[in-house]
Symmetry: C2
Subunit: 352 residues, 2 copies
């Protein structure tokens, strides 16, 4: 170990090695190692001298050398197949925190939807002898599983899904989140609840629509007005204008597929002289503070609890690194954050 | 090396070692190593056999073992003293890409403004024998320098600033960006350009205000109306209402300290029946697509080119790892992205 340690420390002349500590303390390397690891038989005096020298030299054990001996690198890769966007940040942060508290460092790798780059990232991570891999994405839709030739590396997919019974995939419960939102509107007496959402090619779109339908059907209400478009405010404005065009069929609530759509809808209601939430209640999805706080009135929204997802991914990976075999798609609960736009919370109502 | 390699690979039973390759090819470990590294004297036949076996076993050299010998870990830490927010992510992405292309892997560390956590992160990274460190933050204000006892590790601060002549700090040129925006408004004939911005405790606030003042002064215009508040849409609405309250002093343009303020101001103009850009032109700062695209009309804004900052941080760190000594605060240029709200670009005007 010491020979390796010496050369590894060459890059960093300020970094002292076990050899330096031993030499300065006037003991053998084996003795210095025993003293620092509190193992073996040593006089109290020798141990104290070694510890004193180590402190004075700011000695830090070399994890690379330890990793080779311990058969653990205590590193994990985080691979995103797309850029780290608004959804990946909170997941990555919570994951990093959970792993760090377990003494594990996280490599950040962004493959930007380029399969060749992803392959090179995985190759690099294998060279670093990572103990596990977390795969995330900008959206929860199906992706190809990571294939590691002849390999038993623990892999967790979070906010990302693969079609394999052996894979562990952690996802938000989009359907359940939508059901929460619609049940809340129903409990407030709304009955004509339209759904305005994003592009149908997103899995999240049809899962949320399913939750909307299920909540209405449970109250024997026919789910009727369903509009898909873009994930944008501009689509929210356009959809609201369409839904309000016919006074005979005016909805009394809009459940929106994301907060940008909801905010656009609220703007359009105001332009058309329709009061939210009195005439039409509005609920969004994502609980993105930039949107919920700026909306007038402040927006009630479904929170996917992305931090909890990231934390759970870290916890699952640690279990798998310890030998547990975890598999299957797990959907973690969303929660509803109630503000003024749904009509439940008149006290925090309109700012402006 | 081989003994180390064998134990390191125990964690990952699918991963073959140099020893496995040598055994399968019927050669010594030294010979296998020579064949794979294309070094030493070997028969073409032996070399071909070793390479063939290595391919069949999906052999991947162990970087941990190499790192110990090469005195380079080929890893770098990215430390944020605050959570990875909207500004840190584009920086981190570009940094990661630049380092990856140089064969360097990036550890992601989030200290969340907790000095004790930051200290533990640095300790962990030292144990991993990182070759360099990049420090970033949620805002560009002064922070305490990273202190590494007796240490010569290259450190780059990006979107973060320390008060030390030896430190390399890469920052956006906030003052220059503001000057660009105001000069553009001046070139369009605007003369009564007010500045609505965020909290004065931010360095970016006074740098941008300085740019606004400098551009006006250069045209012998007295910089007059300057309002500081929050970084929010709600503050933008309130400030616009204040500025427009007195028709005798009505500004013909608002230069806003960020895009949220600009968007709030645009909303308020509309509510008060004031047309943008005809009556009042508006320019924001950040070029954040979520805001610029949803604003009506689409928002002209200053871009801090955060990707270029991250890329430059990676390039500088690579130079420093190769022995270059770089220091000082460098401010990289911002650019102006012209849309309809400033009045220059009537063709892409209002969507609604």
């Amino acid at each position: 170990m010491t020979e390796n340690e010496r050369s590894a420390s060459d890059a960093d002349p300020g970094m002292h090695t076990l050899r330096d500590v031993a030499r300065r303390a006037g003991v053998s390397i084996a003795t210095a190692s025993k003293a620092l690891n509190a193992s073996g038989r040593l006089s109290a005096e020798t141990r104290a001298r070694v510890l004193e020298v180590a402190r004075a030299l700011h000695y830090r054990p070399n994890d690379l050398a330890h990793s080779l001996h311990r058969a653990r690198s205590m590193t994990v890769g985080l691979l995103s197949n797309d850029s780290f966007g608004r959804f990946a940040f909170p997941i990555a942060e919570a994951l990093e925190r959970r792993l760090f508290d377990a003494g594990i460092a996280l490599f950040m790798c962004n493959a930007t939807d380029d399969p060749e780059r992803e392959r090179r990232h995985i190759d690099q991570l294998r060279g670093k002898r990572i103990d596990g891999l977390v795969v995330t994405a900008r959206r929860t839709d199906l992706r190809a599983p990571i294939t590691l030739p002849g390999h038993a590396l623990p892999v967790v997919y979070v906010f990302s899904r693969v079609d394999s019974p052996d894979a562990l995939c952690l996802l938000p419960d989009d359907e359940g989140g939508a059901r929460l939102a619609v049940e809340h509107l129903l409990s407030l007496g709304r009955r004509r609840i339209a759904h305005v959402t994003g592009p149908e090619r997103f899995e999240a779109v049809w899962l949320r629509a399913q939750g909307w339908r299920a909540a209405l059907s449970a109250q024997a209400i026919e789910p009727e007005r369903y509009l898909t478009g873009a994930w944008s405010e501009s689509w929210g404005r356009q959809a609201a204008a369409t839904l309000l065009a016919d006074p005979a069929r005016m909805p009394d609530a809009l459940f929106c597929g994301n907060d940008q759509i909801a905010r656009g809808a609220l703007d359009q209601l105001e332009r058309m002289g329709v009061t939210a939430p009195d005439d039409v209640a509005v609920v969004g999805f994502d609980n993105w503070s930039v949107m919920t706080e700026a909306a007038r009135p402040p927006l009630t929204s479904v929170d996917m609890n992305l931090g909890a997802l990231g934390d759970e991914a870290g916890a699952a990976l640690i279990e798998m690194m310890a030998g547990a075999r975890l598999a299957g798609a797990r959907r973690l609960p969303c929660s509803l954050v109630v503000r003024a736009s749904c009509g439940a919370n008149r006290t925090t109502a309109e700012e402006t």
